[in-house]
Amino acid sequence: MISPEEIKETLSKAIPVTLVETQDLTGGGDHWQLIIVSPAFEGKALIEQHRLVNEALKEPLGDQRIHALSLKTFSPAQWDKLGS
């Protein structure tokens, strides 16, 4: 189990994030869906963006505090395009 605050803190230590939205998918605190916007994603394929996030969250993923992770990642440009 992990808190949304801890997810945000752990992520932002590893990569610059302009937006992190967390959704606890089961209410158990270990299945999360994250929406992340980061300039670090600029020009990277989705798989590389997801690798960055998995790497940043390696510890809570490794010790099973996060059991399942569903990711939606965007560079700021991709995110802006989505909103318009």
């Binding site: 394929a45 989705l46 798989i47 997801h50 569903s70 990711l71 939606k72």
Partner: protein, 107 residues
């Protein structure tokens, strides 16, 4: 990873414009994520090759090392690892998958 497994994966990935490592077969997928991935790919009508990792434990482990990615299914387009179910779904939703497939087949 054994050399023969690696070279078999290499060949499949390079010789097929779209290569899918999945659980089960496209007609009889054995996992919801594999099923969804195949469903998306089929919607575009491009031919794709697949291998059932459940049929070969060496490939099941080997493919994870090959891509340095822990889960199956795994989709390769034009020789490059694209992602699993989540990413294929997301690319499909964003409208980015079709141009990738098209450009692979135009080559």
């Amino acid at each position: 990873m054994a050399e023969d497994v690696k070279s078999r994966i290499d060949e499949n990935v390079k010789n097929n414009k779209i290569m899918v490592y999945m659980k089960g077969t496209p007609d009889f997928p054995q996992c919801g994520f594999s099923a969804h991935t195949v469903e998306i790919l089929r919607s575009y009508g491009f031919p794709f090759a697949s291998e059932d990792v459940l049929a070969d434990p060496a490939v099941r482990e080997g493919i994870k090392r090959y891509s340095n990615w822990p889960t199956i299914p795994q989709v390769y387009i034009d020789g490059k690892f694209v992602g699993g179910c989540d990413i294929v779904h997301e690319l499909h939703e964003r409208g980015d998958l079709e141009p990738m497939l098209k450009s692979a087949f135009e080559k």
